[in-house]
């Protein structure tokens, strides 16, 4: 009897499948709502090498779904905390901790040590980066994502170059305005629990060639009524256009800009922040002749084109808020200023002066 006996006696699984799990090297991106259950089950099943990559720290609002962590872990790095917990549970598997966010700079080196990638990230820039790297480095990708009460699971890039990748389904990333992320819309913890567990199940089935997997298929699951919908994916001739031509090209791609993402806030939050940070600055990045003007609120007007050369002006601002007509240029402005001031609080105001909650109304 060993700790895997209940699965090795399973008809069709056996010692051979267990051996394949032992040999497997699986990387889990994000030890969050999806990564927590995925990691627990991969480790329990005996996947021989498990990498955990996450640069984030545990916060109180994570605890409804990130079941690897407890109240005693607040403020700690998620990859380190998860690795510590799993190492204490099992002596017979190798846990590798990478306490960083996955980036265009580290992705090649990290991916090269694994033969299957599980995406448990929580934003489009990371998801497109991970997809593109999986295509360029020929790594199978177990994709999982949630939105409110629904989830998606798929195995992408599972059959080499002929297989489907994420850009075959969604060639271009949505902007931050199209689809709010998990932190903004809320989620019951059990939903990522189910989806992350399905990702672990698909990874185990794929590695051991057990059962029918979601290779080139996508499963949709609805927590509220338990309805599921599985569709067969198709190759999209446009999908390759968005993927960098090589890993060298990927390293110079800015995925946050590609995804039109950024740390956006609404006008109400903007004024709340400005009252909290008296040294903060509000900047209109539109051209001088654009209307309507913002009145009654102190701000500077610096067109986007001049932002780069004038950045020194805001060296001592502890908060920079940027707005434009509709919220698109101010996202670019965030990227420009973030290059000069990494770590400073810099936000774009969603929807700009035309937003429904804009002070002009």
């Amino acid at each position: 009897m060993d700790r895997f006996s209940r699965q090795t006696i399973l008809p069709g699984f056996g010692k051979l499948a267990q051996h394949k799990l032992k040999q497997a090297k699986v990387l889990v991106i994000g030890a969050g709502g999806l990564g927590s259950p995925a990691l627990l089950y991969l480790a329990a099943a005996g996947v021989g090498t498990i990498g955990i990559v996450d640069g984030d720290r545990v916060s109180l609002s994570n605890l409804n779904r990130q079941v690897l962590f407890g109240e005693g872990d607040l403020g700690l790095n998620k990859a380190e905390t998860a690795a510590h917990f799993l190492k204490a549970k099992y002596h017979d598997i190798k846990i590798v901790c990478i306490p960083e966010f996955i980036t265009t700079q580290n992705i090649k080196v990290i991916f090269s040590k694994y033969d299957l990638i599980i995406d448990g990230s929580d934003n489009f820039p990371t998801r497109y980066l991970v997809n593109d790297a999986c295509v360029l480095l020929d790594k199978p990708l177990v994709f999982g994502a949630v939105y409110q009460n629904e989830g998606q699971v798929a195995i992408l890039n599972g059959k080499g170059h002929k297989s489907i990748n994420y850009r075959d389904i969604f060639p271009d990333p949505p902007t931050a305005y199209e689809i709010p992320n998990c932190n903004e819309t809320g989620v019951l913890g059990v939903l990522p629990g189910i989806i992350g567990t399905l990702q672990a199940a698909e990874a185990i089935k794929f590695i051991t060639e057990y059962g029918d997997t979601l290779v080139d298929k996508m499963l949709f699951y609805n927590l509220l009524n338990h309805q599921s919908y599985t569709m067969e994916l198709s190759k999209n001739p446009d999908s390759r256009k968005g993927i960098p031509s090589s890993m060298e090209a990927l390293e110079t791609t800015d995925y946050a800009v590609v995804c039109g993402d950024g740390d956006s806030i609404d006008w109400e939050e903007a004024f709340a922040l400005l009252s909290k940070f008296p040294g903060g600055t509000l900047i209109d990045v539109r051209e001088a002749d654009e209307l309507p003007k913002l009145e009654g609120h102190p701000h500077q007007s610096i067109p986007l084109d001049l932002l780069d050369e004038k950045h020194q002006e805001w060296l001592n601002s502890d908060l920079i808020l940027l707005f434009c007509q509709s919220g698109v240029r101010s996202l670019k402005a965030v990227k420009i200023l973030e290059k000069h001031f990494p770590g400073k609080k810099i936000h774009s105001i969603s929807g700009g002066i035309e937003a429904p909650d804009s002070p002009i109304y």
Binding site: D122, F124, A145, Q152, P174, N236
Partner: protein, 80 residues
């Protein structure tokens, strides 16, 4: 539902934008005609990216919708 109608199911934020998870529509010959109808009825969808599946197979480009087909509108999710 008439014999020629099509059954449209919507997921995620698409269902929010069209304010229902299911629609029964009169015959639409292909996905481009369907998209044109949806964009007209629900202008918000014009600014939203989503995939379309016809009878559980992802449609790429203009795709014929058979009589009585089930068409799914599938947006990307990013949460984790």
């Amino acid at each position: 539902m008439t014999p020629t109608s099509i059954h449209v199911i919507a997921f995620g934020m698409i269902a929010e934008k069209i304010k229902t998870k299911e629609l029964v529509l009169e015959y639409m010959p292909d996905t481009e005609v369907l998209l044109g109808y949806l964009y007209q009825q629900y202008p918000e969808l014009q600014h939203t990216k989503f995939g379309i599946a016809v009878n559980k197979k992802m449609a790429v480009g203009k795709t014929v919708i058979p009589i009585g087909a089930e068409v799914a509108l599938l947006p990307p999710f990013s949460g984790g």
